[in-house]
């Protein structure tokens, strides 16, 4: 990661202090100063609560990104901006395209069309590993720990710009030993913070589901990312650990990082997000602060179906069935099945 890509002042300072080498990670992981997030949150106050609303300081800008699987349009985002320095939640019913959207943003999947940028530079066609090096690191819905590596080794893999990862230098330890020591110090500090220090020498495969989530998050932080993308960080985590995970996600923001996360747990979304984006059937249908979004009629409809607050009388039922039938007759197979489904799900 060249130094000019580092805009986060905290990270930039660390890079400068480390013996002149641009790619060297910090010697130690210093206690990060608390960044004042109120300014970033205040900036969101004037943003209209509309899908695709422009933000004062966007870190990610998405334009016309579309991904189809056969006839099904999984993601179709016309315009979306993600504000720097805050926690943005991405919610939506199952199959809304949230994870596909994550995959597209991080280079794990390629869209049919559209462009998106990170810190002002386009990420279109950039492979996943380069996206990560630019400071946009993701985690996975189904945790991906490296089972037969120890927890510490998992952490060390996360560090970027390691000299010892070059084949010719790898054979000779003096080239990388010093860097390895500093990476280990950094890893230990993170493990301490994420309560995994006692598991340091255990195989990652022996961790519980919640611990794996913690490890994955900690490992992502080894790369000092500007934007952390968490795909369902709470899935399969017991309530006790959930509280501490929540704290960790908030602490990422307090470090000055931007967080984008996908989650189904509404309590969590309400608790920690500064801004919420709602997706349904591949589109962004609503945006806004958590409370306003959760009262939004479009969101309720998307989650519960548009007839959720009406008793279905026979009259009503006939009407719905007739409507659905008409639609089916209208275009036998060209319509994506999801489009029909949403109308008469009541």
């Amino acid at each position: 990661m060249p130094a000019d890509e580092v805009t986060d002042p905290v990270t930039a300072k660390q890079v400068r202090s480390s013996a002149g080498a641009t790619a060297m990670p910090p010697e130690t992981a210093p206690a990060r100063p608390q960044v004042d997030v109120s300014a970033a949150r205040a900036a969101l106050r004037d943003v209209p609560h509309e899908p695709g609303a422009p933000k004062p300081d966007p870190i990610v800008v998405v334009d016309g990104v579309r991904r189809t699987f056969g006839g099904l349009t999984a993601v179709d985002v016309a315009h979306l901006e993600i504000q720097r320095g805050v926690i943005t939640g991405l919610i939506g019913p199952n199959g809304a395209g949230k994870t596909t959207f994550f995959n597209l943003m991080t280079g794990f999947d390629r869209p049919d069309e559209g462009d998106w940028s990170f810190n002002g530079t386009s990420l279109k066609g950039i492979p996943a590993y380069r996206v990560a090096r630019r400071g946009m690191v993701r985690t996975f819905q189904l945790t991906k720990v490296l089972s037969k590596l120890t927890v510490l080794e998992n952490m060390r893999v996360g560090a970027t710009g390691q000299h010892g990862e070059r084949l010719l230098r790898a054979m000779f330890a003096p080239f990388w030993r010093k860097q390895e020591t500093s990476n280990t110090t950094k890893a230990d500090a993170l493990l301490e913070r994420f309560l995994l220090i006692k598991k340091r020498e255990d195989f990652a495969g022996s961790l519980s589901g919640g611990q794996r989530k913690l490890l994955e998050m900690a490992r992502a932080l080894m790369a000092d990312p500007e934007l952390v993308m968490l795909d369902e960080p709470m899935a399969g985590v017991n309530p006790a650990l959930k509280q501490s995970l929540l704290g960790h996600v908030k602490s990422l923001r307090d470090d000055g990082r931007t967080v984008l996360f996908v989650e189904h747990d509404m309590d969590m979304v309400r608790d920690i997000s500064d801004w919420v984006i709602v997706m349904a059937q591949g589109k962004v249908i609503a945006e806004g602060p958590p409370d306003s979004v959760m009262g939004d009629q479009r969101v309720i409809d998307a989650y519960l179906g548009s007839h959720h607050d009406q008793d279905i009388s026979e009259d009503m039922e006939d009407k719905i069935i007739a409507q659905a039938q008409a639609e089916i007759d209208d275009d036998n197979s060209s319509t994506a099945p999801a489009d029909v489904e949403g109308e008469h799900r009541a």
Partner: protein, 332 residues
């Protein structure tokens, strides 16, 4: 039953040049399969291009031996590149299919009549190893008299093979303790996770395929020199699977796994051969003629070897050097 000669000859095989060649082949596979998780079922192909490069350079074109050896390594590297470019971006099974097919294509092509003038068809090539043999400093039988001895040329090749194997082990050790090796092991566990952490997975897999392929090419060169001859049947599919057996017996992803594996494997296989050979020979054999005759004896060892392998996989699937804790993770 002459136990002393059975042990002596089995030991001669277990430490002998053939075992050493398989050790090299298995070290290459260890880099591929053990550390990176690449399913290369065509190690015999890498050996074939290495062995045929050196023998045809010398025997067909009359070029110097050292140039042929370099060409052998170069050809193995090029083969790795050719196989890797189309397959390493795909799922792991594609590499397995492509490598096993490529190894057979190479073997059939080399043995074809069209190329008879260059590679000698099914009869192969001879008379290319004199430069190597001239370097042999030994003249009489070498070894520990009464325990195990080798003919001078055999000892010379086994010495060179084992020295090369030791150097390869040293290189594998140095690489696998480094951050580079850690990335390889990470790719073996989950390549998407490694990709998400900013590593160019494709480049790492290619490097691994080339390093393991080069070691395979080295094994092919030594195999040709050890026999002082070469023909396509040296590089049939079972060569690859013997190398895999050696690797699994010793323990995959362990630096010394292939070394221990090859010694145990070749010791046992020749021990069984000698034992059944002796037990079925003579006028009053140990094993009665109606149960097993001397013609069957040399094949029965493979049945026992297979059974022993199955038992090994059931009771010690991690091999001799493997770590039992790693297995506990798989069971989850």
């Amino acid at each position: 039953m002459d136990w002393q000669s059975i042990f002596s000859e089995a030991l001669q095989q277990g430490l002998g040049p053939v075992a050493a060649v398989y050790c090299l082949a298995a070290i290459g596979l260890n880099v591929h399969f053990g550390y990176t998780g690449l399913l290369n079922f065509g190690q015999a192909g890498f050996m074939a291009v290495g062995g045929y490069a050196v023998s045809s350079f010398v025997a067909t074109w009359g070029l110097p031996f050292w140039l042929g050896s370099l060409a052998g390594l170069f050809a193995a590297g090029v083969l790795a590149l050719l196989l890797g470019v189309p397959t390493l971006r795909l799922r792991a099974d594609y590499l397995a299919i492509v490598t096993i097919a490529a190894a057979e294509i190479i073997r059939q092509t080399i043995g074809s009549v069209t190329l008879l003038t260059y590679f000698g068809g099914q009869d192969g090539l001879q008379g290319f190893s004199s430069s190597f043999a001239n370097l042999n400093p030994f003249s009489g039988p070498v070894g520990i008299p009464g325990v195990v001895t080798w003919r001078p040329y055999d000892f010379w090749t086994l010495l060179v093979c084992w020295v090369l194997a030791a150097l390869c082990c040293l290189m594998v050790w140095a690489l696998m303790r480094s951050p580079w090796g850690r990335v390889l092991k990470g790719i073996r566990e989950d390549e998407d996770a490694v990709r998400s952490l900013g590593k160019n997975v494709y480049a790492y897999k290619m490097q691994s395929l080339m390093i393991g392929g080069l070691i395979g090419g080295l094994a092919g060169i030594m195999s040709a020199l050890q026999h002082s001859a070469i023909n396509p049947s040296f590089f049939a599919t079972d060569t690859t699977f013997f190398a895999y057996t050696v690797l699994l017996v010793g323990g995959a992803a362990r630096v010394l796994g292939p070394v221990a594996g090859t010694i145990v494997f070749w010791f046992l296989i020749s021990f069984l051969d000698l034992f059944f050979g002796q037990a079925t020979s003579g006028t009053n054999p140990l094993i009665p003629d109606w149960l097993m005759n001397s013609n069957q004896a040399s094949l029965v060892r493979f049945i026992f070897m297979g059974a022993a392998l199955m038992l090994l996989m059931v009771y010690r699937p991690q091999g001799i050097f493997g770590d039992r804790r790693e297995l506990a993770i798989d069971a989850r």
